[in-house]
């Protein structure tokens, strides 16, 4: 409003909307849309009193592609590649959520081997996603080296994931009723070799970065989110688990293969950015445990059910909801069908969307540099928020 009083009509719609509630003696600053710390095209408008953030408002939509509409104009099988492009960080999590919703609606039984392959590849994808976050987040905080280490490991894992999925980033190898390719002997061997190597790397990461005094001073006590705040905003995933909420969809919704394996849900109670950081570091170890056990127990058999749906297959009428624990939280797909080849309605529940909605409250009263640290600690993938 103070700009308008001065006769200045600067800024766009969102700036002018944000300025309506602004104080006279403050400065309004746009972080983004092209800002290195947003890892994509996210814009945050902040109102600053000196160094302190009084108010923050994320502006979305720069990467909006209307996947929900595409879900209504493509057949169910044709929509699978879209799911790999919603979140490029954890594409297989989205794959699984969508095919899971269709399978639940149709009452399909997925062959056991295919279920194991889904677990193994999704967990490898979770590690690649966490490594990407780890490198980029430390880069936000001013550490240049860790991303080199992170991408070293990540490239090896992407080589591995390329074997069964055929792609390095936008994986879409899950099918309604199974997966598209079986695991090769070479894949199994390479993963078996990689697990001990990765286990040696994780303590090095701890010595190099996690125990670093600069990192701890930047993150400890910064951006504290309590359990009630997580519930009010629907925050899930490592962010909620950093706030002491032991909620993991893999456990909460009784995923078949995970139930038989020995692994723990990583939880921290501090609720600050450091807790969220540590939860993700623990999760990489847990994912290695899951992959190792799942590989050892991998049964023989088909990887796709008999008479798996073809492109023009018609789903039965009704609705279903299927949730998966993605690298960033609870991925949900709500599917409504009127008995045609196309979905009548697809709702894509993005974990980052809900996690980011809590940001305005978490960043209030912090200094600007901490606000950037909090943004990074949420592990945002912008295309997933905008869908």
């Amino acid at each position: 409003m103070h700009y308008e009083q001065l006769g200045v009509t600067e800024g766009d719609f969102y700036n002018r909307n944000f300025e309506k509630g602004a104080r006279e003696d403050t400065m309004i600053l746009n972080l983004g849309p092209q800002h290195p710390a947003t890892h994509g095209v996210l814009r945050v408008i902040v109102e600053l009193d000196g160094e302190y953030v009084i108010r923050a408002e994320p502006v979305l939509g720069y990467l909006h592609r209307m996947h929900e509409k595409m879900g209504e104009v493509k057949t169910l099988s044709q929509f699978i590649p879209n799911t790999g492009r919603i979140d490029y960080g954890h594409a297989l999590g989205w794959n699984w959520a969508f095919v899971g919703a269709v399978e639940r609606l149709a009452g399909f039984e997925v062959p056991e081997r295919a279920q194991y392959i889904r677990v193994i590849t999704t967990e490898i994808n979770r590690i690649t996603s966490h490594l990407l976050w780890w490198g980029a987040f430390t880069l936000d905080l001013g550490a240049i080296t860790p991303i080199m280490y992170a991408f070293d490991d990540r490239e090896h894992l992407l080589d591995i994931l390329q074997m069964p999925t055929g792609s390095r980033l936008t994986h879409s190898s899950f099918r309604i009723g199974g997966v598209c390719t079986d695991l090769s002997e070479k894949f199994i061997e390479t993963v078996r070799d990689f697990i001990p190597k990765m286990r040696e790397r994780l303590p090095m990461y701890r010595d190099l970065v996690t125990d670093n005094v600069i990192l701890r001073k930047r993150l400890e006590g910064v951006g504290v989110m309590d359990a009630d705040m997580c519930r009010r905003y629907g925050v899930t995933g490592p962010v909620a688990r950093g706030s002491g909420l032991a909620y993991d969809v893999r456990q909460a919704e009784h995923f078949p293969i995970y139930e038989g394996l020995d692994w723990q849900v990583a939880v921290r109670t501090e609720g600050d950015s450091m807790a969220r950081y540590l939860v993700r570091m623990d999760e990489m170890e847990q994912s290695l445990n899951i992959i190792e056990q799942a590989l050892a127990a991998l049964p023989a058999g088909p990887v796709l059910m008999k008479n798996a749906p073809k492109v023009l297959w018609k789903a039965p009428k009704g609705e279903s909801y299927f949730a998966v624990e993605g690298a960033r939280g609870k991925i949900g797909v709500h599917l409504v069908s009127n008995g045609g080849e196309f979905a009548y309605k697809v709702k894509l529940r993005s974990p980052c969307f809900s996690n980011l909605s809590a940001y305005a409250e978490a960043a209030r009263g912090t200094i600007l540099a901490d606000a950037v640290a909090i943004l990074g600690s949420l592990d945002l993938v912008i295309p997933e928020i905008d869908r």
């Binding site: 909006h64 509409k69 997580c230 629907g234 925050v235 949730a323 949900g332 009127n338 529940r349 809590a358």
Partner: protein, 175 residues
């Protein structure tokens, strides 16, 4: 659990679902005036908001609110109908602040107004855009009774006919 939690609310239709088949534990149809009291009860029972969307059907827009629980998981779907002509619902952002964005998104996609939303500006679509991309044409719309499979409700109001097929309704009307 939900039937006792909603004891004081006039529920139109309440079904206990099989989570293995639908992913839902409870499906609840409410009148618009009962939405906010029901949401407050869920908040006090420590539920969190998963998502919010709408289904465009012949009868109107059916807004769907999904909630889940951290300690005793089981998805609750609240459903409220609003008309095509004047789509308007009360905002629940005063209870669940996270609903603010979900409501703005639903306004973008369907044109439903959420009264009481603290910042009702477009979220994902351009501010000058007037179209609502997920609205269906009259020919594309299906009946709600056609989309939702028949179920045995635990509670159902006598005047609740949304999920009764039109043919059956005509029969009983004649009789």
């Amino acid at each position: 659990m939900i039937d006792s939690l909603f004891g004081t609310i006039k529920v139109q239709y309440l079904v206990k679902c099989d989570p293995a088949k639908t992913g839902l534990a409870w499906s609840v149809f409410l009148a618009q005036s009962d939405l906010l009291p029901a949401v407050k009860l869920l908040y006090r029972a420590n539920y969190f908001l998963e998502d919010l969307t709408a289904i465009d059907a012949k009868e109107g827009y059916l807004a769907v609110y999904h909630f889940d629980h951290i300690d005793s998981p089981g998805r609750v779907a609240l459903r409220v109908l609003t008309s095509h002509e004047a789509p308007e619902l009360p905002s629940i952002a005063s209870v669940y602040q996270g609903a603010e964005w979900h409501e703005r998104e639903t306004t973008d996609f369907y044109g439903i107004t959420f009264t009481g939303n603290p910042n009702p500006v477009p979220l994902l679509l351009a501010p000058d855009m007037t179209e609502h991309p997920l609205q269906k044409t009259e020919a594309q719309r299906a009946f709600l009774w056609d989309l939702f499979p028949p179920a045995e409700p635990l509670r159902a109001a006598a005047d609740f006919t949304l999920l009764t097929p039109a043919a059956k309704l005509a029969e009983t009307g004649e009789a």
